[in-house]
Subunit: 373 residues, 2 copies
């Protein structure tokens, strides 16, 4: 019935995010919550102003605790299965902002077994390689080394597995079946996996022997894991983690294709793409909201709401005024599709040039970010 | 239909071991195999002579490899959920003999999450306590410290989990459902668990980066785990482990009650029971094959085949001739039940006195036995 699918293993179609809030049972981020956040952060991140982070669980409770002096830590992650594209960066850029604004410790999980368990042809050697590669992109975003801990499931299972079995004892196969659409042909590692993903949400509390609030910024497709495990974590005696959900950066092919997917190179800008590749991909593939001819465009104007280049600028152009100018200029027909694409190309290439420099430097930093037991 | 149940989580009834060989698809240990073993060990352990170890998988292959100079390692274990009783010791006593005779390294697993996952009321704090306690009994049996490595699942998950997910990827829920009688109400940790039990059978091969044959001595109730994972281990590129299965020491209450169960203190002799307790339990509870009165016993004789005290002596009296004398003496009515029980009491108390001394000493040895990554 739905024209879209959103779960941890599949995102497809033109997603109705307000409907998703109802389906998932989360809360919309409203103006009063934004004001409450702003009280602490002074400015609001564009992702908040623009409702790219659009939904949450228990964020008001988290701020209650914060205001009582009970600081939270951040938890997010990446299941390595390929190179990083700019869509992956969205929740992490926001997480970095949260780390800075709230002085929060970040636990970043690399569940290097997840995609191995869910993808037939992926080996643990592949995911190990991608873990290293993906870490470079995370570090390049500027997380504070003394406040950031990388957890790699197969490396840190020595501390994680024990906590995962506590979670696992309280979840039946029936429950994961219903939550994830599993069946009897699922392998027993994939069935267990959600317990491993729950662990970083309370591991700092275990290690520090006190209950610490947790905030998880993530793509909304990952919410089902925590819908399942938040109650379990609570039963184990820890706070339910608060969650803040973001929308997906659409693929180059357009909004109705769901999120950017690393498995289709032509719809994706990788963080390691060079200037020419970025330009070529956008010029060639970015779905346009413009008219068929220049004359028609000048007359009727373009449609920024379905134009991928414009949509991407809502993620990457931080200046609200500038973004608004572009919107109206395109809509009125003054700005042509090629010109709009060029704005995006310049924006992305500037960002990626910096990112790639930091990414190179990150090669020497990985060990400092790894959690030491 | 069957009057007995044998699986990793339940052993009940009067077990027909020859039927079990057919059901489980294992092979009986026959005279030619015994001779082949004896070629290497000079003498045969009473557990082999008496068919207490009665069944195997691939033992001839293991000896082929051994004869080619390809030495095997041993793997056995204990899922801690309570104190050790003398029934638990049977496979380990035999494992110790194999270690001595074949100069084999032993990997001893303490899967401290297993019983936690399968028993509602058991906590990980309980299983941790029992792990320590149970290790004392294992060490007391005299395993060589430089050839024995203890693996504790929650402690060694740092090396084990990665290998377990390789196993888990190749096992579906359908398969564990069929093998273990699981249903949708099983928790996801219990579903995953068999993958962790598979790991020590090839972990030494992983760590030493060469394929090393493995022999697993165990109670036949544990066979279903390996029936499931032997093929998987092979698919991962390692030898299928060979297995040698033993019968159960019956509980004091009699043969038809299945194996000795730690959950019923009156049917069990713990390794820490003092002399008086051992005497009292055996005199009071050991099921007797004798007659109702002394007169009748003298006339008709006793039945050693159903007499628990005699059956226990087949496990603990090493001298064949002495055992045969007792058999005939009891059968003829010459030996009374009380006298037979006294023979067993003396035998066990002598054994336990030594064991308890070694158990005390073992408290200082645990760390030396722990596998260091």
């Amino acid at each position: 019935m739905d024209k879209y699918i959103v779960n941890p293993w599949e995102v497809k179609g033109d997603i109705d995010y307000s409907k998703l809030i109802k389906e998932f049972g989360t809360e919309a981020i409203n103006e009063s919550l934004l004001k409450r956040i702003q009280k602490h952060t002074k400015e609001l991140h564009p992702f908040l102003r623009r409702k790219i982070f659009f939904s949450h669980r228990d964020l008001n409770w988290l701020l209650d605790e914060y205001e009582k002096g009970n600081k939270f830590f951040l938890y997010t992650g990446r299941a390595p299965s390929g190179p990083i594209h700019i869509g992956h960066l969205i929740p992490w850029m926001f997480t970095k902002w949260l780390q800075d604004k709230f002085g929060a410790e970040l636990w970043f999980q690399f569940p290097d077994e997840e995609k191995f368990l869910f993808k037939e042809n992926l080996t643990l050697e592949d995911t190990k390689r991608f873990t290293y590669d993906n870490m470079l992109d995370v570090i390049a975003l500027g997380f504070k080394v003394n406040k950031t801990k990388f957890l790699v499931d197969t490396v840190h299972a020595g501390v994680m597995y024990k906590e995962a079995v506590r979670v696992a004892k309280k979840i039946t196969f029936s429950t994961v079946k219903a939550s994830f659409g599993f069946d009897n042909q699922n392998n027993i590692g994939s069935i267990f996996y959600t317990a491993m993903q729950a662990v970083p949400a309370f591991l700092p509390s275990v290690l520090k022997k006190k209950n610490i609030p947790c905030l998880i910024p993530l793509g909304v497709d990952q919410d089902p894991h925590f819908r399942l495990t938040r109650d379990v974590i609570h039963k184990l005696g820890y706070y339910k983690p608060a969650i803040i959900h973001c929308r997906f950066l659409p693929g180059l092919g357009g909004m109705e294709k769901g999120k950017m997917s690393a498995s289709d190179a032509s719809t994706v800008i990788y963080t390691t793409d060079d200037e020419k590749t970025v330009r070529n991909k956008i010029m060639k593939y970015a779905f346009s909201g413009g008219q068929a001819t220049i004359e028609e465009h000048r007359k009727k104007g373009g449609n920024p709401d379905i134009d991928v280049s414009y949509q991407w600028l809502t993620f990457f152009e931080e200046n609200d005024k500038r973004l608004e100018e572009i919107y109206h200029s395109y809509k009125s027909g003054k700005l042509l599709t090629g010109e709009l694409k060029q704005i995006l190309v310049d924006k992305l290439n500037k960002f990626l040039k910096e990112h790639q420099k930091k990414r190179e430097k990150a090669k020497k930093e990985i060990d400092k970010f790894m959690f030491k037991v």
